[in-house]
């Protein structure tokens, strides 16, 4: 276990905010806070669909982008992130995440948080599946292929 890398306090606070955001979106707008579905909805007008929901979905996405900028402002420096895997894995990963979340009707937020919180069996199955697939993938990439 990576004791130095383990950040339980910020994880608990951040997780609490994510949960609170999910509850608020339901209380205010009556919607599941599933990011893959919201992003797909932003592109729905390309197919002439989902016009009524376009604005709030775009606003939610804008909020997601705004947040790290606000945090960087408060911190006084740009928040540092690192991408340990090569660029082609980012591209292939993006393609699989995009296609897979649409086929599987959700991602970490919609299934993993909102769905599991509603005790949806579909979301339990989806979450167990993507967690297992991701752990196996990183095991192969990091431990067998040695990236």
């Amino acid at each position: 276990m990576d004791i130095a890398g383990f950040t339980p306090v910020s994880a608990a606070i951040g997780g609490g905010l994510i949960g609170a955001a999910a509850v608020l979106l339901m209380a205010l707008n009556g919607r599941i806070a599933g990011v893959s579905g919201i992003v797909a909805g932003v592109m729905a007008p390309l197919r002439g669909e989902g016009g009524a929901d376009f604005s709030w979905r775009l606003a939610f996405v804008a909020g997601l982008v705004l947040a790290p900028l606000l945090a960087s402002l408060v911190k006084g420096e740009i928040i540092a992130i690192a991408t340990p895997h090569p660029l082609w894995m980012m591209a292939l990963g993006g393609l699989l995440v995009g296609y897979g979340t649409r086929l599987g009707s959700g991602c970490t937020s919609g299934h993993g948080v909102c769905g599991v919180a509603r005790l949806s069996t579909r979301s339990f199955a989806a979450t167990a599946t993507f967690m297992a697939a991701a752990i196996v993938t990183v095991f192969i990439v990091n431990r067998i292929l040695g990236f």
């Binding site: 905010l17 949960g19 608020l24 599941i32 919180a117």
Partner: protein, 138 residues
């Protein structure tokens, strides 16, 4: 009001992702790397998010309707089918390859790192590959 509330909720959600460092692919991969120097932080994020949403949903969904809408819109499907499992498995592989899922990827885009944009463009391409670009014929 629906738009303003979605914006504020988006900021709150994004702050949660930022504070918990879930926007950092290195942190996600360290969680998924159970055979390496495993970092269990994501488990705490999930547990905390679930504790709040589990209780919060129960209170909210006991009401008749959302504040700015006619009804709560909840998924109605209950069967575990092939697309759910295949799609989730593909998503999991992509999550492990990149260390990013949709929410964190969008937030991380604010930080101006090229690798994140490559992921996002591919993500949108993947979504359009499934959903289609042109209007569906009835």
């Amino acid at each position: 009001m629906r738009v303003l509330s979605a914006l504020l909720v988006g900021v709150l959600f994004g702050l949660g992702l930022t504070i918990s460092e879930m926007i950092n692919p290195a942190k996600i991969i360290a969680f998924l790397d159970v055979a390496g120097s495993w970092d269990p932080s994501l488990l705490v994020v999930m547990a905390s998010a679930l504790a709040v949403s589990f209780v919060g949903y129960r209170i909210v969904l006991a009401r008749r309707a959302p504040l700015f809408g006619a009804a709560f819109q909840l998924p109605t499907k209950t069967t575990i089918d092939r697309p759910l499992i295949v799609g989730s498995a593909l998503f999991g592989v992509g999550w492990g390859l990149a260390g990013l899922c949709p929410g964190p990827a969008i937030s991380a885009a604010a930080l101006g790192k090229g690798e994140i944009y490559v992921f996002l463009i591919a993500l949108i391409a993947g979504m359009l590959l499934k959903d289609g670009l042109a209007p569906k014929r009835a």
